[in-house]
Symmetry: C2
Amino acid sequence: MPQTSSKKKISRNTISRLSLYLRELTRLEQDGKKAISSSDLAELTDLTDTQVRKDLSHFGQFGISGTGYEVSKLKEAVRNILGKDKVLDVILIGAGNLGMALLSYPAFREQGFSIKAAFDIDTRKIGNKTSEIEICDIEKVQEFLKKDKVKIALLAVPAFSAQKITDTLVNCGIRCILNFAPIVLRVPDEVVVSNVDLSKELEVLSYFLRTAE
Amino acid sequence: MPQTSSKKKISRNTISRLSLYLRELTRLEQDGKKAISSSDLAELTDLTDTQVRKDLSHFGQFGISGTGYEVSKLKEAVRNILGKDKVLDVILIGAGNLGMALLSYPAFREQGFSIKAAFDIDTRKIGNKTSEIEICDIEKVQEFLKKDKVKIALLAVPAFSAQKITDTLVNCGIRCILNFAPIVLRVPDEVVVSNVDLSKELEVLSYFLRTAE
DNA sequence: ACTTAATTGGGAAAAATTTCACAGATAGCA
DNA sequence: TGCTATCTGTGAAATTTTTCCCAATTAAGT
Ligand SMILES: NC(=O)c1ccc[n+]([C@@H]2O[C@H](COP(=O)([O-])OP(=O)(O)OC[C@H]3O[C@@H](n4cnc5c(N)ncnc54)[C@H](O)[C@@H]3O)[C@@H](O)[C@H]2O)c1
Ligand SMILES: NC(=O)c1ccc[n+]([C@@H]2O[C@H](COP(=O)([O-])OP(=O)(O)OC[C@H]3O[C@@H](n4cnc5c(N)ncnc54)[C@H](O)[C@@H]3O)[C@@H](O)[C@H]2O)c1
C-alpha cells in the first residue's frame, strides 16, 4: 500500500532473470565483448529476446535501436537495479555441513557479498575459524546485530530450530532471509524470504521423470 | 506435441507446491492428525485455500465436501503424483564442499532419495568414503551408468566443467539434472534441469531490500 | 428429519505474464 | 544520399495462472 517509490511492482521472476543477465554480462565483459543484442543475451540465458527486452524496459532504456546493448553499460545498469553497487553484508546462522560450504565459497565475495559473521549453537564449533570468519555463539547474534546493521541472513540450521531463530533475527532487524531449512517460515510482511529447497527440486525432477516415460 | 499421456500439461510451480503439501502432510501424519481442510493446508504452506484445491484438482478428487481431506490418503496421493512410490536413485558429480554436504545429508534417504554413487576428478578425493558411498573416479561414470540406469544427477562441479560433464551424463542416459553450478546448461528437450542458484537468490533479496527502503 | 455450518470441485472472471507485431532508430554500404 | 539489414521499445494480443464464486455434499446438532 505505501509504495514509496513511484515504480510499479516488479515480479520476483523478473528479478531472477536480471540476475541471469548480470551473470552473462559479467562473463561477456571479461571476455572482452563490447556489444550484445537482446536475442544473443536470450540465447545465453535460454530465454526469448522479447522477454529480455521487456524485463529491461521496466527499468529504463538501455539499448540502441539497430545496434543492441553496450555490454559494460548494461552490466552496470543491471548491477545497480539489483542493488549491487555496494557490497552486500550477510550473516550466516548454522555452521554445519551446508553452512561451512557457504562459508568457504569464495565466489560470494567475488560477487559482492560479504559474510560478516557466522553463528552456531554447538560449543565444539564455536571459536573455529574458516575463511577469516570465526564462528560465534548464537547467543551473541543479538548483540552483534545491535552494532552491525546487517540486513540479510543465510539460515542453515535444522528445521526444528529455524522458526525460533527467525523470530530472533527479525526482532534484531534482519529483513531478508535465505532459508535452507525445509520449513515455511512465518515472517512479518516487510521481511522477504527466499527458500532453497532441495527436496522440492528433486521432487519436481521426479515428477517430470515419471511423466516423461 | 506428442503428449503421450492424456493429461494436460502441469506447470512446474504447481509441482513445487505439491512438494510443499507433501512435506506438511507428512508432518501432520507423524503428529497423528487425521484430517485437514484446504484452508488449513494453505495456512501451513503460506498459500490460499483455492490454490491448494486447484492444484490438487488437476490430478483427481481427493477430498470430501464439507469435511476436507484425509491426511494419510492425500499424502499417499501426492507421493504417487510426484513419483515417490519408488525410491529415487541419484548420482552425485563433484564431491567438493557442497557435494560433501549433500552426501552427508541424511534427510535425502529418509525422504526416498538414494545417492547410488559419487564421482570426482580429484585424485585426493577418489577412494574416500562418506555415508557408505565411496567417491569414484569421474572416468568411471560412463561405465557405471551402463549398468545402473540412474536417471538423476546432482551436479556440484565448478561452472567451467559443468557443461562438458553434462554432455557426458546426457549421453549416458541421465534425464534430470539438479545443477548447482552458476551456468545455464544446454541440454536436449527431453532432459529436465533444475537450477539451485544461490547468487540469484541473494540478488533477489538484495533487490527487495533496496526497493523496500 | 430438518437446519446450519463447513467444505470441496470446478467453471468463470480477473490478474499476471509472456509473446506478437511493428514503428522508429541505427549502421553499413553502394 | 538512399537502400537494406538489424535491432530496440512498447502497446496490444494471447496465454497462463490465480482468484472468485457457488452448487453440491457432508457432518453435526436439535
Ligand atoms: N546438507 C545438505 O545437503 C542439505 C540439503 C538440503 C537441506 N538442508 C537443510 O539445511 C539446513 C542445514 O543443513 P546441514 O546439513 O548443514 O545440517 P547440520 O546439522 O550439519 O548443521 C546445522 C548446524 O546448525 C547448528 N544449529 C542448530 N541449532 C542452532 C541454533 N538454534 N542456532 C544456531 N545454530 C544452530 C548446529 O549446531 C549445526 O552446526 C537444515 O535445515 C537442512 O535440512 C541441508
Ligand atoms: N559451496 C557453496 O556454498 C556454493 C554456493 C553456490 C554455488 N556453488 C556452486 O556449486 C558448485 C560446487 O561448489 P563447491 O563449493 O562444492 O566447489 P568445490 O570446488 O569445493 O568442489 C567442486 C568439486 O568438483 C570436482 N570436479 C571438478 N571438475 C570435475 C569434473 N570434471 N568431474 C568431476 N568432478 C569434478 C572438484 O574436484 C571438486 O571436488 C560450483 O559450481 C559452485 O559454483 C557452491
